[in-house]
Amino acid sequence: MTDEKLAVEKAGGVEDDVSDATGADEATAVAEKETELTDEEKALAKLKEALEVEKEEVGPLHVKLTITIPRDTIDEELGEQFQDLKREAQVPGFRKGHAPLKLIEKRFGADVGSDSLTRLVSRGYLAAVEKLDVKPLGDPLICAMVTEKRTDDNGVEKSVKTERLVPVDRALEEMKLPSEGPLTFVCDVELKPEFELPELTKIPVKRPKVRITKKDVDLELKRMRMSSGRFQPVEGGKVEADDLLYADMKMSVDGEVVVTEDNFDLAARDLRVKGVPLIGFADAVVGKKVGDEFAFEAMVPDDHDNIDIRSKTAKFDFVLHEIKRLHVPPIDAEFLEGVGFDTEEELRTQLKLQMESRLESTVKRGMHAQIGEYLVEKTDFEVPEGVSRRQTDRAIQRRMIDMYTENVPQAEIDKKVDEMRAKVHDQATHDLKLFFVLEKIAEEQDIEVREEEINSAIASIAAMQGQRFDRIRDQFSKGGGLNTLYLRIRDDKILDKLLADAEVSETKGPKTKDPNTKEPKTKEPKTKEPKAKSPQPKGGKSGTDS
């Protein structure tokens, strides 16, 4: 009996014949669907019967499959292809469809051969995987004779044929359908790990007990005021921390001048000048006056652009010309109007609401992370040995989307991504493990993501980044980000579901929980975090690359 009928019965009060009719209709529909599917499925099933496959374990979750497709199957496939072609082929001297098969074979043999090879290899692989009942991870690599150009000792370039594992597309370019005998090819496949899911209810989760206090709102307000502040010249004063300075700069290494720049602008804090981090610069510069000359020495990092000065001590000579200090606007009518509020109270309430929602999402993310940790810890399996690049990239993309939704500025995201690439392996292994666990949960609990959910997620990212919906969607679909977004939404749904069944205990949280609220001192004087309802930044920007 169909689900629909069961549902009808549960609802009660509907006549049986109606539900029977519905059931019959559905049965016909299913039968029709089956006949539609059969062609491809039949071919696959037939191939599954016919082919021979040998499995060889190469490493943990890593196998080598030797697949042999018998000659009969190849001939049958070719025959079908030629018959199809005979109906359509246009040969001079013959009406369409009247050219003899022999002539068609001679004319189009090579093309049909490569088409058939593609079909045989792809179907053969799928059939072999089904026959062995293994779950492959990603696309296989196929062993093929590849032509490579090599330069010998005398500097002469030669084409050498070597046997290598290459992606399917590349392998098909090199392979040829044998004119006699069976087709044999070797696939290198990584397998999905097999494991048991841990207990998914009553997962212990700690929820930090935190709330937004008046002090937090004060800090946020101060930050907001600073972001709309202007730098103004200081007459006759001394340098204070975070001031903006204009000075003539001369950078020399081993007594040789590398760079000089007049009216160089820099901030009075620890920063990076011409790729060299000036640690302790803030302390050295505080207290200086206009006209003062001073020097500062720092070590050039070993990854500096200029190879000659790497790991050497660089001396910076400065002649201070001007000091500018950030003038923070008072909370007056003008400031309130600028940020779109009538009273300070309204602004504070709005700020508090914003901070609370941010805090809530941070706390939730923290709890999701705890569940993720639990799942990874409680599940015991090995991640496939050669973690494919695709999976690593996916982990990076997912992090990028995380940052987009956390409203991190683009420049920061780019920087983070670069850092991540360097040390992504450990994290990727962890993420992969979590990915497999979540995938299995989604499969078992039938959790799916609808198109509308993806669209609404894109809309909210677009709103936060201040860009058009279509543009963000295009960006995602171009870089394959839609799939990542799908996974993220699916994972969130799973984690939300698990969180609902989790055993949540409250713990004492840190004083200030909101990660977006930082001490104003560490903020750059002229940049601000993009945020809804915040004013646009005014004035110039700092010339340093700090």
Partner: protein, 103 residues
Amino acid sequence: MDIYHIVKRPLVTEKGTHQAQQSQDATRSRPARGGSFAFEVHPKASKPMIRQAIEKIYDVKVISVRTSNRKGKPRRVRYKMGSTPKWKKAVVVLGPNSHIDLF
């Protein structure tokens, strides 16, 4: 005339293959005949010349040669009338043990 000038090209057409098939079928009742094949030949080539050329080129036994002269088709280039060249067609019937692999 060189033999390769006499026989210009085999005619691989629907009509030709059909005739060849018919001829092949007829062989069963008249076992002295093989298949028939059509060629474009030099307009001035005679039947004996064609027979000799085909026998040399394809190493077969020719039973008979039938020829026909084809008129060129009228063609117009802007305001001038012209025509495609006239040509000669030859259908050769081979001996029972001979065969030409045209395709």
